[in-house]
């Protein structure tokens, strides 16, 4: 049983999805999805523990040996991400029942949970597999279900946003497929480790260059790197609140994982940097993303949309870490993956609670919210403080490691810009705080605090934001080892 954990991790939600359809009733479907997600979280915990103690796990699907059969390969990096994705899915799912009941049409609620499980299965599959083509398959599974989830949003524009994302996302996925095809053409293998061994032999061919370019551009689209981020704000703003919380905390993280996996494991750490100024490009685009997206976030009228733009900015920080190309930079990126999942989860969850009670997340409608929904407002503030990077929150930890990593490379202007970027975060969080705390609520409003079932998971995330901001042992040690392993393996 324990030796089959890698496949169970993926197959469980994948099989649960159609079973969920049979259940029919939304409440049952929710309970079933939650249980499935919780089981997936348990499996990912066991996997992380196993990898931590015994080193990477190789699992051969159906017993077929590696280059011929499909291999699932769990090392510290993806075990860590599996845990992030499955636990965030579980926590967010725990608080979504009422939110979904309020925002999704009754006859589509069961479908909602089916898509959720499919999306979860796709994301976990991308992470678990060690096979390049398998990555594409799971990417499509997760993407298609994501389009469905987004289109279930209350606003009619959700359909349009989802359609737009579908077009662009499909092109991105196609790019990845083309890249994988080109690699297969040159090496005759789809197994990642096998690719890693065979690519260097043919590294100087245009086909491999093109393969690299296609894969990187495709992945960059999926992770919403500036200027390929244009699909993200609409998709996040119009999707049902629960979906936004889930996607913001997991989907882009998985895309960043793919970028790391392809550029460090498959092509090797030096490949991109050798021929093109990829690192400088990443740092430049990351900085532009931080500034541009933060500025847009400051001026947004709808807070959900503002926080969506902030996601683009935060991805900028992750890309800067990657662009540094050092172990410390990579570690900063991995830390921010984890920490950003926590803070964005908390922020979007609190917005989901607001949407549930107020029916809107427009700034003007939040006036005096602290008097009506004190716990939700406080959760938003704490999540926001974490986003800004205030000490004793996780946000501080990631900023700290990122700044240290840039200073290590002697790039102090970048470090200064990162810190200035944090000031922009202060501005868009403060706007909300000011409206929530220092304006009187409209006299007519009869809004009450969000239900306990929403508050509980929300505050769990908030507490995690603070806990991992103080006791950093788990994320720091895991990411440090993962970063070392990636750079070592690449060479």
């Amino acid at each position: 049983m324990l030796s089959h954990l890698p496949i169970l991790q993926v197959i469980l939600p994948l099989l649960a999805a159609p079973s969920c359809l049979i259940l029919g009733r939304p409440a049952l479907a929710w309970g079933f999805s939650f249980a499935t997600s919780a089981a997936a979280m348990l499996i990912s915990m066991l996997l992380l523990q196993q990898v931590w103690l015994e080193g990477p796990i190789s699992y051969f699907l159906g017993g077929w040996e590696a280059p011929w059969g499909i291999e699932y390969c769990i090392d510290l990096l993806n075990a860590f991400l599996l845990l992030i994705v499955s636990s965030l899915s579980t926590v967010v799912l725990a608080g979504t029942r009422q939110s979904v009941a309020a925002e999704v049409e009754p006859n589509k609620q069961t479908l909602f949970y089916v898509s959720w499980l499919l999306c979860l299965a796709g994301l976990l599959g991308i992470l678990a597999t060690g096979d390049a083509f398998n990555v594409f398959v799971f990417l499509e599974v997760s993407s298609l279900s994501t389009y469905t989830l987004i289109s279930l949003g209350r606003d009619r524009k959700a359909l349009w946003a989802s359609y737009q994302y579908l077009i662009v996302g499909t092109i991105g996925a196609t790019f990845i497929l083309i890249g994988i095809g080109l690699m297969y053409m040159m090496t005759g293998t789809l197994n990642m480790q096998d690719l890693a061994q065979r690519l260097p032999v043919v590294a100087d061919t245009r086909t491999v260059f093109a393969a690299y370019a296609f894969v990187i551009v495709g992945v960059c689209l999926k992770l919403a790197l500036f200027p390929l981020h244009l699909w993200l704000p609409n998709a996040y703003a119009y999707a049902p609140s629960a979906v936004t919380a889930f996607l913001a905390a997991t989907a882009t993280k998985v895309a960043v994982y793919l970028l790391i996996r392809f550029s460090f494991t498959v092509f090797g750490a030096d490949f991109g940097a050798m021929d093109i100024p990829l690192h400088q490009l990443f740092i430049a685009l990351g900085l532009i993303a931080v500034f541009s997206a933060s500025l847009v976030a400051i001026l947004q009228i709808d807070i959900k949309r503002a926080i969506a733009y902030s996601s683009v900015a935060q991805i900028g920080y992750m890309i800067i870490g990657l662009g540094l190309g050092s172990a410390a930079g990579l570690q900063a990126t991995l830390l921010h993956l984890f920490n950003h999942a926590l803070m964005k989860g908390a922020l979007f969850m609190s917005l989901a609670a607001v949407a549930l009670r107020m029916g809107s997340t427009r700034l003007d409608d939040l006036a005096g919210l602290s008097q009506r929904m004190p716990l939700t407002a406080m959760a938003f503030v704490l999540g926001g403080l974490s986003l800004i990077g205030v000490p004793l929150t996780v946000g501080f930890i990631s900023k700290w490691y990122l700044v240290i990593a840039t200073l290590e490379m002697g790039m102090w202007p970048v470090a200064v810009l990162i810190l200035v970027g944090s000031l922009l975060a202060v501005m868009y969080i403060w706007r909300v705080v000011e409206v929530m705390y220092f304006r009187d609520p409209p006299a007519s409003s009869q809004v009450s605090e969000a239900p306990v079932s929403v508050l509980l998971p929300l505050w769990l995330l908030v507490v995690a934001n603070i806990y991992f901001g103080i006791d950093t042992a788990l994320p720091v040690s895991v990411t440090a080892d993962a970063a070392q392993a990636l750079l070592g393996w690449g060479k």
């Binding site: 662009v168 260059f209 370019a213 960059c220 100024p277 500025l295 001026l299």
Partner: protein, 566 residues
């Protein structure tokens, strides 16, 4: 034990403080008494040694250290918190009750802190929580005084932080043990402690702020901040000679101010300053007897000073003022308060059989044993002065002298009970000092009641009393009039600002001109950004799918171009 840092009485107190914000007002009084009692029990259960190790950002913090020195202070802080809680039983103000609990908790935490970072956190917390006791008066004057107080306290905290960093850079250790004055870090920390301990010229915040707190708030304030500073000095700078000089000056100079001051709570603040001097001298001497003396004196002092402030608080509550010029003859309406005030006065003046006698004499004896005769003489003079301004002046002008005609009710039962218990403790320590001696940091081999010692002390007291009588009879004693007495703070509250204001006036003009230009430029930039990034701007507009795809292709094209032709 992994989580033994949770077993900290300070955390218990602070938790109760947070609880007090939401509790029904009826339960505030019981909470303020029960919590420190539980804390005291908890403290007694703690084993000796360093515990509560917490790792934070790679630093190892010792949040809980119980040894001889910290134990005495922790015990008396708890007792003071219990008594203050009882005294303030009737107060329905959540802010005051909560602040008092957090403040006491922070002071206890600071005393139990084993490293400089933990100390710093609690140090700042005492500042922030205690200022609420001043602001609780909710007057404009209390607000400005509180701000001044807060600024100075926070500066002390920042100095402590800075000193800790310098010290850490130099030695690689954050442990809060003997620091000494032979490094820059030590000096900065010394200054931080000195501010809180109200060293001469750094003392004005004390007399400025304490008389402005609420009737019950001053009792709380008088117990913790300065004694915490004495503890910190005893821990970090025991035996530094400079402390002897500082302490001796501290005992002597406040006497003059105390004699001419009209506000009786301010008189007590000056005498608080003077009593601190005794402890600082004890710390400076640094011998086992002297340190025992400092600890014992802090213990006794917290009690009788609290008792005096309590009696003045009761007067303030009933009469509405504690100006000597407007009081007098209150013994008829407040007999019990009068009695307790006199007991406090006799304790602070160190009458035999009262607590001051058995503790202060330890410091004097220690000074004599070190052959510090000049210091000894100053301390003796100061002892006589204490009798004049605290032992006689405070009870005399408020409860006797000219009858000012106030006919008021006796203090409420809880205040009387708190004063009664405190008075009992003052006498109990004086009569039976052995239990106090038993918990002092070092083994005690000291007998306060020798005939020589009793006779000298009585002689001293009698002559001091005689002097007071003669001065009053002859009409030479400074009349109690409403006046503002200029202390050293005039220099930085009036003179310096005036000079600086002149200097800065033309700089401001220059500055505003420069700023106007800069602001114009900034506005222009913000306008531009708002145009491009605001709703509907280029950067946040909803773009067509085609635009997105074209960006995608541009990106890919650039990428391919670079990889082929770089």
């Amino acid at each position: 034990m992994a989580n033994d840092w949770l077993m900290n009485p300070a955390l218990l107190m602070m938790l109760a403080g947070l609880l007090a914000i939401r509790l029904p007002t009826k339960l505030l009084g019981p909470l303020a008494v029960v919590t420190p009692t539980l804390g005291l029990l908890m403290l007694c259960q703690l084993p000796n040694g360093e515990q509560g190790i917490v790792s934070l950002y790679g630093l190892t913090l010792t949040t809980l250290r119980v040894d001889g020195l910290s134990f005495v202070w922790a015990v008396i802080f708890h007792i003071a918190a219990i008594l203050a809680g009882l005294y303030a039983w009737h107060v329905k103000d959540r802010m005051q009750q909560s602040a008092a609990l957090v403040y006491a908790g922070a002071a206890i935490g600071a005393v139990l802190a084993g490293d400089l970072l933990t100390l710093f956190l609690y140090w700042e917390l005492t500042a922030i929580s205690s200022v609420l006791l001043i602001w609780a008066n909710r007057t404009a004057r209390a607000y400005t005084v509180g701000l001044r107080y807060l600024v100075i306290q926070v500066i002390s905290g920042l100095l402590l932080m800075a000193g800790a960093i310098v010290h850490y850079q130099a030695t690689g250790s954050l442990a809060f043990d003997h620091l000494g004055l032979d490094s820059p870090g030590g000096w900065i920390i010394f200054l931080a402690f000195g501010i809180k301990c109200a060293f001469p010229l750094l003392h004005n915040w004390l007399q400025d702020a304490y008389p402005e707190a609420t009737a019950t708030g001053t009792v709380v304030l008088s117990a913790f901040t300065t004694k915490l500073a004495v503890y910190a000095l005893a821990r970090g700078f025991a035996g530094e000679d400079i402390l002897i000089t500082i302490g001796a000056v501290m005992t002597a100079f406040p006497i003059f101010f105390a004699v001419i001051e009209n506000d009786l709570r301010r008189v007590l603040s000056y005498s608080l300053n003077n009593q601190l001097g005794f402890m600082v001298v004890g710390v400076g001497l640094g011998t086992e007897l002297a340190l025992n003396g400092a600890a014992a004196h802090a213990f006794a002092h917290i009690l009788y000073k609290a008792l005096l402030f309590m009696s003045m608080g009761a007067v303030l509550l009933r009469v509405g003022t504690v100006k000597a010029s407007e009081l007098g003859g209150l013994y008829k309406s407040m007999p019990w308060t009068t009695l307790f005030c006199i007991i406090g006065g006799m304790s602070i003046s160190a009458f035999p059989l009262f607590s001051g006698f058995v503790t202060k004499s330890m410091i004097l004896t220690a000074a004599a044993a070190e052959h510090q005769w000049l210091v000894w003489t100053v301390l003796l003079f100061a002892s006589a002065g204490v009798l004049d301004h605290s032992g006689i002046k405070v009870p005399f002008f408020s409860f006797f002298y000219h009858d000012a005609g106030h006919r008021v009710k006796e203090a409420p039962w809880n205040m009387l009970l708190a004063m009664g218990v405190t008075a009992f403790l003052c006498i109990a320590i004086g009569v039976w000092p052995e239990p106090l001696y038993a918990i002092l940091p070092f083994p005690v081999d000291y007998k306060p009641y020798t005939s020589y010692h009793i006779i000298t002390q009585l002689q001293l007291l009698m002559f001091a009393a005689l002097a007071f009588c003669v001065l009053i009879r002859k009409g030479w004693y400074p009349e109690e009039i409403r006046s503002t007495n200029l202390d050293f703070d005039w220099v930085y509250r009036r003179l310096l600002p005036a000079v600086v204001k002149k200097l800065l006036a033309w700089m401001w003009r220059l500055d505003s001109a420069v700023r106007a230009v800069a602001m114009k430029a900034v506005h222009a930039v913000i306008e531009k950004v708002a145009q491009s990034h605001g709703p509907g701007g280029v950067m946040s507009r909803n773009l067509s799918t085609g635009t997105m795809v074209s960006w995608l292709s541009v990106f890919l094209a650039l990428y391919l171009f670079f990889s082929f032709y770089w």
